[in-house]
Symmetry: C2
């Protein structure tokens, strides 16, 4: 393909914006109000977006002329690109140097491709980082975050001002050591743990493909954006990236374009010591279109041509392998691991300034570079206004679809959605909570437009199929059953990407509870990045039986109770399952894990959807004055055992309270008075039962209480036999209680 | 290649055995006594091995004749193979049917390739499953374990007798629901969680390549065996398998031969719904030799030819893609997910019996099949005796190498190895425990022949390089620094394979502590399968500073304390680090995790290598009569804070005990009297401090104590600032203590 000046693409975008600029709509249409809730950071955003919208017409006109001029003067343009690219390099160098900590190497090598992306290719509105139809960018090699901060700064995002660059990696700054979506508007995903970012990108691209297929009309393609990502050798080595890239190829995510920063250096040195596979061939095997840009250091036109080619391939994701030099420009450290993760040092910074001909003081952005990038503010406002107009037309013509899309964009759930959840009485037939979960999932999918998900090849065991929908596939992306294959880690991270795409997306994903071990890194990122994914984890104890200890969770409940910002639910029956889903759907900034039984359980008297909100609550009590002889505490499948043990003890004249501890995190949030009403400090006779590790129960049963659980691995045998052999029985609980009364 | 009768290969093996049979050595040389300690199950093995060794000469002779006859009668041979293959199928069908639980599909499809492996190709001694130079086999698709049980049964392993097959998946049986090495001699690795097995196989093959390069001599190739594995579509989808297969290709593990059971079915149905990549091309990209056997159902000669070809390729691992029909032989369920993970049901078992012409009752092994397989007992004994003779010659000529190899084979550490560990006094210079760890690693590598390991691309941060050794690479496999690249999950599972290869292998592996989330599934398998891997986990708290919350562990200490059979160490200084290593090296059936600091720490008075064995112990105390006013408890980098807080309190006239809680699991193992001596029940004023989750500390500080920790995510800033902002300070501890006194 012929080379194109850097402005051809940006001009094309500009033209799109301008074509609507003359219309009244562009100036007058505000963002629809539903967008208010897209992010915690948008409090000040609406007004600034409106302000920009109203100033577009005059701010754009001079730019049009400038663009026309620049398009002719190709050579000066090229030198301006050089200058802009070096600006990015030195902002990264200077920030790392000031912090005496960070990773300058990647930004120095990736500045060219990322300059072209942010300056020439991507559509976004810097003054509203949450504008729905923006292109998404994920820096999967998150340690190179100064690259992204420099880009956001140049592009005009308010989240990264000069003072933010100067407080890189400092307490309270908007520029933490790795990109954090919850800290820095403009950052789409929290990356750093390698491979997570490309997986998030697959999730973002999936979300776009799904929405486009579901909502676009021949006369109005209301959903239409790309997902870009930069990943490095580290991301490529991680298994998760192979998982998600295999899926991206399978799904044919044509609007996913990933740049592989092929710099041959990782922390341990040359990648030759551990990474000699052919990445190109592997991606071809995964069904990707692969392009190799041999000169990533200054082959701007090669990069541009590659992006054009990638966009032309619509049925496959594209990997653009860009061969770069890590630390490009540093005369003594480029192309070595020493530039990967440490400041260059005063001398080498000076040498690099000389080498690249950079006469400026630290953090300086030359005026012509600043001016060149300044157009993105009006251009972005115009893009958003354009889209708002398009949406207004869409809404008029397709009100039902618009309402659904609006709910997904805004995160505002349809009124009364929670009424869809099933309720149960003690007379309702007993069932495994995995089956009761399926009733909830199907009810929610009908009531909540952005509800979708699937299993890692265990749909028929996890009971996660949405019966009203088909499979999300290459040819049927409008459907809502996701088929992840046996790829737990990728599944979790893809769901993070979906959740982060739009606040109304509520993705769920499923496997056996024990296999959270495969996806724990992604789950922690859910919790950290405030992605409200719902983890449907069935086969939650030795109750799964014959599959044996490789499949039986023991320490998993404890391990999630210890993790910040994630709710660990272990519902006992239908009402508690529905109650857990109600909270999981509501809390969009906290992911939830539901541990569900394989085995059938009764519907217990005393449980309710509402009570689950308290985390721990009394389901039955024959005592008076908040002074039972003993408190029996259970969760999930063992709550039934606690209830039956209580009956036995009551028959023997004891006053017994039975407490369900369905979600510890929610109980922790209750008032001291409420906690005292459930677990009075005077009552030290407390017995807990749970078919899992007793670790952590000490705090709840107290120094004199007893915890019945399993602190060894399980075994292979029918479930009933295991419960008996491991002592998870009514008799054990009665005995423990009696020893304390 | 021309086809070869099934007996050509087995005969070749037989010939090798027989060639030594005539010599006196073969009959008279017993296994060397060091082998006694290779396994807990070998108690009765030595004698049976000796018995076999002494009966070889007469038991082999008839077999030689039989082999010669059978080699001519190819047609009857082929029908006998059919019969043997069907025996495997029906043993699996019958066991699953009796258990009403299990996975018949894979054994039915994989019976042909596995028959050829166990009957014609592999060398092993069924009466000593731990014979060092055996070929290893790992069923990565562990759910198909009845395949392996049937093979072990036919091959004459005592671990799987007819009654064991009949108690498949029952309490206490030797035939659990997934293969467990610690339960069933003959099973090399614990599999079931998908992808782990092929990773173990890579570790086993690495171990062989390392030992062969290190110990083989031109006149005596004392180490010489293959590693075989069967993996399915599920294993292929898991990211871990791509990680380890990339490494296997990089390392050129030519004696690793993996069979990919290409049956197009997983639990959710046809793999077309989630898995359409080209596995062949991907493996070629990873540097493997790839062969496709198109008819895996009965193309015996194709399978044989493929194995021959694989063996001829010595510089690359080989993937033999074997296209099979899952549930082959079942007229109504073959080639469908319904045969994957459930019993066929009485009717379909009957139909399958009719379809395959199998007139026998359940669990029947036809006499000619039994007779055919019976040769493996004498043949295996001959193989071992042959090797023992070879070893005797080796030992005579190369006594030093033989002593090292013997230590690795037997697990008997050189006398006085522990003296190599460094010791420290309070005057020794302070240092980060990651650096102190490096001193231990280097000391141990010199003292312990089987000590080797490496990092997931963080060697210079984890401080894990062994200075006396080079890198284990394709051309230098005798070296001991393993370079895993950014592949934590694969790293852990490969180390499991190394540990399981021979009891004297002590592999360590390293990354940042937070990234245990990437490898947790492998770590759990270490714990379950009793593989004593040492996990060197640095950057163990917010103390790592600027990298921020994606890199700062919070809940990780708790999450491992809750896991069965793994020791979670958090040493505070040099002595505690050395003490942790001493135990980690000693406890070969329990893996260890060492959480180590990035930041410098002082050498504390009161710590010692020996005390670490207690798990928790007093480092200083100014009280009398076991009644301090308050007990301050710390671990790792916060023990210093506890010590300093104690000084402040003592200055104010308080009697204060400071306790190091370096390993909870070891403290739990102590006597009640010891525990009472450290944490007297009368002293309820207890304060713990740890820069991590407080989850679980309630049990130790008791209902009236206080725990200082961090129950939210961390942040990006210099370490000192973070400690202050998160309140992990001397002042906070003093204040908490005062509030309790």
């Amino acid at each position: 393909m012929a080379s194109t000046s850097s402005l051809a693409l940006s001009q094309a975008l500009l033209t799109r914006a301008i074509s609507h600029n003359g219309s009244e709509n562009c100036v007058s249409i505000p963002a629809f109000s539903a967008l208010k809730s897209t992010s915690p950071r948008t409090s000040g955003t609406i007004s600034s977006r409106r302000r920009n919208a109203s100033t577009i017409s005059h701010s754009l006109r001079p730019l049009v002329r400038a663009a026309a001029v620049e398009a002719i003067v190709t050579s000066s343009d090229s030198s301006l690109v050089d200058k802009s690219v070096n600006t990015i390099r030195f902002l990264a160098i200077d920030a790392v140097e000031k912090a005496k900590s960070g990773h300058p190497g990647l930004p120095m090598g990736c500045a060219p491709m990322s300059h072209i992306l942010y300056d020439e290719v991507m559509k976004y509105n810097p003054k509203n980082p949450y504008w729905f139809n923006r292109d998404r960018f994920v820096l999967s090699a998150g340690h190179g975050c100064m690259l992204q901060y420099a880009l956001l700064h140049l592009a005009g995002y308010d989240s990264v001002r000069e003072e933010d660059l100067k407080s890189f990696r400092q307490w309270g700054s908007k520029t933490p050591g790795h990109p954090e979506n919850f800290e820095t508007p403009g950052v789409e995903a929290t990356t750093g743990p390698l491979g997570q970012g490309i997986a998030n990108a697959v999730g973002l691209a999936l979300a776009e493909k799904h929405l486009a297929a579901r909502f676009n009309k021949p006369d109005n393609e209301i959903v239409d954006h790309y997902t870009y990502s930069i990943l490095g050798d580290g991301c490529q080595m991680e298994g998760i990236s192979n998982e998600v890239c295999s899926l991206a190829g399978h799904w044919g995510l044509g609007k996913l374009i990933a740049f592989y920063d092929d710099n041959h250096i990782s922390i341990d040195g040359d990648t030759d010591i551990a990474f000699t596979e052919s990445v190109d061939k592997r991606f071809e095997a995964l069904g990707w279109h692969v392009i190799w840009v041999k000169n990533g250091n200054n082959g701007y036109d090669e990069i541009r041509a590659a992006i054009r080619e990638a966009k032309a391939v619509t049925d496959k994701p594209t990997l653009i392998k860009v061969t770069t030099t890590i630390g490009y420009g540093s005369p003594n450290k480029a192309n070595s691991y020493s530039v990967h993760g440490a400041a260059l040092g005063e001398k080498e910074v000076e040498a690099t300034r000389n080498n690249l001909g950079w006469p400026y003081e630290p953090f300086h952005v030359p005026e012509d570079v600043k001016s060149h990038w300044s157009r993105h503010t009006p251009e972005g406002a115009a893009l958003e206004a354009d889209w708002n107009a398009k949406f207004a037309a869409y809404e008029k013509k397709y009100p039902e679809e618009a309402a659904e899309l609006k709910s997904i964009i805004s995160g505002e759930l349809p009124v009364g959605w929670e009424k869809a959840l099933p309720t149960y009485t003690p007379d309702s037939p007993g069932d495994a909570t995995r089956n009761l979960s399926q009733q909830c999932l199907n009810a929610l999918a009908k009531a909540v437009p952005g509800f979708l998900g699937g299993s890692a090849d265990l749909a028929s065991s996890n009971m996660t199929m949405l019966k009203a929908f088909g499979n999300f596939q290459k040819a049927t992306p409008e459907e809502r059953n996701l088929r992840f294959g046996v790829r737990e880690h990728g599944m979790g991270a893809i769901c993070n990407g979906i959740a982060l795409h739009s606040p109304g997306f509520i993705p769920y994903c499923a496997t056996f509870f024990v296999f959270t071990d495969y996806m724990r890194a992604a789950m922690r990122i859910s919790a950290l990045s405030e992605a409200g994914v719902i983890y449907v984890m069935t086969h939650d104890s030795i109750g799964l039986g014959e599959d044996g200890p490789t499949h039986q969770p023991i320490e998993h409940l404890s391990s999630f109770r210890a993790m910040p910002n994630i709710m660990m639910f272990r519902p006992a029956d239908g009402n508690e399952t529905a109650g857990a889903y109600k909270i999981a759907v509501t809390k969009r900034k906290t992911p939830s894990v539901l541990a569900l039984s394989r085995q059938k359980l009764p519907q217990l008297p005393g449980t309710s959807i509402e009570s689950v909100e308290k985390g721990g609550y009394t389901i039955s009590d024959n005592s008076t004055g908040n002074k039972p002889d003993v408190i029996l505490i259970g969760t999930g499948s063992e709550l039934e055992i606690a209830a039956q043990a209580a009956e036995k003890l009551r028959e023997q004249g004891k006053s017994v309270r039975v407490v369900s501890f369905v979600c510890w995190e929610l109980f922790d949030e209750q008032s001291d008075a409420y906690k005292e009403s459930v677990l009075p400090s005077d009552v030290s006779a407390r017995v807990s039962i749970e078919a899992g590790s007793t670790f952590g129960w000490g705090k709840i049963v107290g120094g004199k209480g007893k915890s019945i659980g399993i602190d060894t691995f399980g075994a292979s045998a029918p479930a009933g036999k295991l419960y008996k052999e491991f002592g998870i029985t009514i008799e054990a609980m009665v005995e423990a209680a009696k020893s304390l009364i």
